[in-house]
Point group: C2
Chain length 231, copies 2
DNA sequence: CTTAAAAATTGTTTTATATCAATTTTTTAT
DNA sequence: ATAAAAAATTGATATAAAACAATTTTTAAG
């Protein structure tokens, strides 16, 4: 399942560390490095589970992961996590429990850092603390957009939003290879997978996008934007 | 509209200051106090508006306020704010803009504190910073529950959740006087006001609660809990 | 290569919920 | 106290979206 690997390098030299660490001194980075270890996950594997204790800051260094709330019979995907993003839930400053689960969508590698080290640095380095608060805030703002999309838009608008999220924020290219399942697409947009599939089909028929296999290209982003905005 | 009032006291003596300030020294409290002023809002008045700059930390000292996102044609109420809670949105560490609006539901009084003072103390006092992060985290966890309720429960479950929120977290008593409108109830539960009204009526007919005028009493919390949990 | 299992797709039916419209009650202003 | 405005309520209708069921395609395993 989960394999501890020998550290291939140290944080100071790492060129794929999360930019949240930009304000740390070499000494502070060394502290992070000393408590850090690297783990590989195969696609589908659970990284951590909602409700369990939360001793690590998880930084995804390759592959793609998802964080999702296990709700009433179905999941809601809060975000996809790509390199170099980290996963650090709100429970860490509350009761040390995870309030969502995380799993690998593609094969992943991650660096895990002891949260006590992380919290120590938050207390000692105000720039780091401020950067952390800023990122928590950005996450919060993103969640606001998401909840408005989920609660006030109809399915077409929600799928449009998810497609923009994937092309602009996750895969960052226009013809892109969907590495998430249709079920994930549904869990991102808060609908049944059948509905998600049907709407993609409609978008194809209207020439808004092409989708063959898992290769998706947005042909008419303007119209898709329009659909996103009219709900 | 908004009246600046003479400060009736200073923060050090105040017995209704937000508990987020518990870790501040007398000197730090004096700093807060020096930048602080007190404001009254009549029911219905806007405290601040989504999209506008965000120069104040707002602490509600009397009355009831709501924070809400103005979405696509309707509002989503994120929370009700009662004494002594504060309003401090995620924009403050991002672009200094509000990402939601706030308004008075009942007549309100609030203390406003310059955010630069607040941010200065976050940098200088790690206990205060940690307490702040903890509260942001709690807010985040609350929002998770809310989004799951809104996206995965049917209307009965969502109304049940809102009733528990009101009785347990806001009014904190069981027969309580609803000071929010039916529209607010709908905006808390993500449905039309007609639907909200209809479901309250059903709950009345089933003996789960009584509601005459705006006085609401939960008669069968167990059954209501059941409805909340079965979605 | 073949088979089994999982994922994706499609059509049909049912249901939850919004919308619209009309009426009553409550609140506010004069 | 009265009129006007706003809020709450109720019923009827329309529709978005889920659930169900069946089929096809893709992936994984032996």
């Amino acid at each position: 399942m989960v394999n501890k690997l020998h550290n291939p390098s140290n944080c100071a030299d790492c060129n794929c560390k999360s930019s949240i660490f930009k304000n740390l001194s070499p000494l502070e980075l060394a502290l992070i490095n000393s408590s850090r270890f690297q783990v590989s996950y195969k696609a589908g594997e659970i990284i951590f589970k909602q409700g369990t204790p939360s001793p690590y800051f998880v930084c995804v260094t390759s592959g793609l992961a998802k964080i999702y709330i296990e709700g009433y019979g179905k999941n809601l995907i809060l975000a996809l996590i790509k390199p170099v993003d980290y996963i650090f839930g709100p429970g860490i400053y509350v009761d040390n429990r995870h309030y969502y689960s995380a799993s690998a969508v593609e094969d992943c590698q991650a660096c895990l850092v002891d949260v006590t080290v992380f919290k120590k640095l938050i207390r000692e380095n105000p720039d780091f603390a401020e950067e952390f608060i800023k990122r928590v805030s950005l996450q919060s703002i993103f969640n606001f957009d998401q909840v408005i999309s989920l609660t006030q838009k109809q399915m077409h608008g929600r799928i449009a939003d998810v497609i923009f999220y994937l092309s602009d924020k996750i895969y960052c290219q226009n013809p892109f290879e969907l590495t998430i399942s249709r079920q994930d697409l549904a869990d991102l947009s808060g609908m049944s997978k059948e509905s998600a599939i049907r709407i993609l089909k409609e978008f194809k028929e209207e020439g808004i996008l092409t989708l063959s296999g898992n290769s998706l290209e947005v042909l008419n982003p303007k119209q898709l934007r329009q659909i996103s905005e009219t709900g």
